[in-house]
């Protein structure tokens, strides 16, 4: 298998529980209540490691990662800011109070391009430190046009910075299994999709509506929640709730896709940050990436049902939620 998988940072969040409104958003169990992980200060200071990698100097690394931060910072509906604090000799994953991004050689993680870790307040969900490492066992590029056979650092950094701010993985994508193991992306609708496109491709430098809705919901610009809306409901299979169903909302006016999951024992989902307008709802099993990319391995995700469309158009209002609805799915 070619190294195309991005490690999901939830692996590093012991005891994390699902936040009821999510794209996915990371969350912490604050005294029995799910709290979204988020930074409470802005701009967020980040350091670049002063170690480069094959084909990428520390300066090139800092510039590419800086462009990725700029991409998230430029979203008009979100208020999240970053500032480069300088180069450091500290390594990513050191708990040192500094958010460090840099290369590290991790030959054991031969399918992981990069990963993000957090230090957080487990009660409030406040992020205190977040580090990102890029696996130096792979060939990297910071070329503007991308380079054949090399992974685009800016694209992967854009994905990891999504984790850095508190977003989990999106399931908006289609994959196929490789004969040699692992998955190949056929198509992706979000930078936060857990499987990367592949070497030489720079597509993930550009955020998609699902990414933008997620970060805007976490760090809303003033008035965002008044201008956007949400939809919510349950997914049921033979009358019982389904955990981990992927719920996709298609905006009939903008043709944008934003998605969420059923995230509790009641099979409930909430998708926030939607543009007001009529939406088509599609529910599918979570079968295009490893389940561990989205949920804790101990959580029983039901994928034994067929994709289905909800038979009514759902009108999402501005500043509120559409009436709740149930989607019934059938077993495969």
């Amino acid at each position: 298998m070619r190294p195309a998988a991005l490690l999901f940072a939830a692996l590093f969040i012991a005891g994390a529980v699902a936040h009821p409104a999510a794209y996915l958003q990371f969350s912490a169990d604050g005294n029995g209540q799910a709290k979204a992980l988020r930074w409470t200060t802005s701009p967020i200071r980040w350091y670049a490691s002063n170690h480069g990698a094959d084909g990428v100097t520390a300066t090139q690394f800092q510039a590419a990662v800086g462009r990725a931060f700029d991409t998230w910072q430029a979203i008009p509906t979100a208020m999240v800011g970053f500032t480069f604090a300088g180069f450091t000799s500290a390594a990513p994953f050191d708990e040192d109070g500094q958010s460090v991004l840099g290369f590290a050689e991790e030959p054991d993680m031969d399918r992981v391009l990069g990963a993000t870790t957090f230090v957080m307040d487990a009660v409030t969900g406040e992020l205190i430190e977040s580090d990102i490492f890029f696996n130096a066992i792979f060939p990297w590029s910071t070329s503007e046009a991308g380079a054949a056979g090399r992974f685009d650092l800016q694209s992967v950094a854009t994905h990891e910075i999504g984790h850095f701010v508190g977003l989990g993985h999106s399931a908006l994508g289609e994959t196929e299994l490789r004969p040699s193991g692992g998955r190949r992306v056929i198509a992706s609708g979000a930078v936060m999709f857990p499987v990367a496109f592949g070497a030489g491709i720079t597509a993930d430098r550009v955020l998609q509506p699902d990414d933008i809705a997620g970060v805007s919901d976490l760090y809303p610009e003033a008035g965002f929640h008044q201008k956007s809306g949400s939809l919510s409901g349950r997914v049921l299979l033979n009358g019982r709730p389904v955990f981990g169903a992927h719920v996709i909302a298609f905006d009939l006016q903008t043709n944008e896709l934003v998605a969420g999951f059923t995230l509790n024992a009641q099979g409930e989902f909430v998708i926030s940050g939607l543009k007001p307008g009529p939406h088509v709802i599609r529910v599918e099993p979570l079968d295009d990436a490893d389940l561990e990319s989205f949920f804790d391995a101990s959580q029983a995700v039901d994928i034994n049902f067929t994709p289905v469309f909800y038979p009514r158009i759902v009108a999402v209002p501005a500043g509120g939620g559409a009436p709740r609805f149930d989607v019934t799915v059938t077993s495969k």
């Binding site: 592949g198 298609f250 009529p278 088509v280 599918e284 067929t306 009514r312 939620g321």
Partner: protein, 223 residues
């Protein structure tokens, strides 16, 4: 209600009418009409829910949709004021309840094709001018041309979402005087048939302009 309507019709028909209205020289300024008819639907065309395809310029279609606003019965009300023999200004209200229907098909993972629907409460409020074409008058049938502009309001099912827009219309029709009087509050009554082409901008279709037709018949009373 039905009884009231019956009494009104009897009262109007019982009033002696004048044979040649245009020769009497009197002109009453206010006219109200109420009736109903049909507001046609329109297709909004196809759209695809797409993902970025790996290594291909063409996006990957997760599924495709085809949306339309269906035709529906409509009720309308007009308040007009005559400026002179040929020209009037009209304020017009039309209500209809079409459905927004979206056919979903070609799902990449085999979800069954389906038509998803939503009921819309649609209000058209407009103002315009009406020009009587006396040269084409046939007995008591007076043709007219009309045009105007106004406001579109569409309430989605559950009334949580309101889409707004604006509209233009062009059309025409005929009026037929049934009764006319030279005295009293009610000076005339008759029938009106109206056909219009509407251009709706905004609303459910957002940044596109949709064409609709309306065909209505109404009873008018002139004061």
């Amino acid at each position: 209600m039905n009884r009231l309507r019956g009494l009104l019709a009897i009262a109007l028909l019982g009033v002696p009418h004048l044979a040649l209205a245009q020769d009497t020289g009197f002109m009453h300024r206010l006219e109200v009409s109420a009736g109903g008819g049909y507001f046609t639907g329109t297709s909004f065309g196809n759209a695809s829910a797409t993902l970025r395809a790996n290594g291909q310029a063409q996006p990957y279609a997760l599924f495709t949709t085809e949306s339309a606003l269906t035709g529906s019965l409509a009720g309308d009300f007009t308040l007009g004021a005559r400026i002179n023999r040929r020209w009037s200004v009209d304020g017009h209200f039309l209500y209809s309840r079409p459905s927004l229907e979206t056919s979903v098909r070609d799902d990449a993972e085999g979800a069954a094709a389906i038509t998803v629907v939503e009921r819309i409460d649609q209000f058209l409020i407009d103002a315009g001018v009406l020009f009587r074409i006396d040269e084409m008058r046939i007995k008591r049938l007076t043709p007219y041309a009309a045009g105007g502009a106004g406001y579109l309001r569409q309430l989605h099912e559950g009334y949580a979402l309101i889409d707004q827009g604006h509209l233009y219309h062009l059309g025409g029709g005929v009026t037929r005087d049934l009764v006319m009087r030279t005295h009293g509050i009610v000076r005339a009554a008759g029938l009106r048939a109206d056909a219009r082409m509407y251009f709706l901008a905004g609303g459910v279709v957002n940044d596109r302009t949709a064409r609709h037709g309306s065909f209505t018949a109404s009873l008018f009373v002139r004061f």
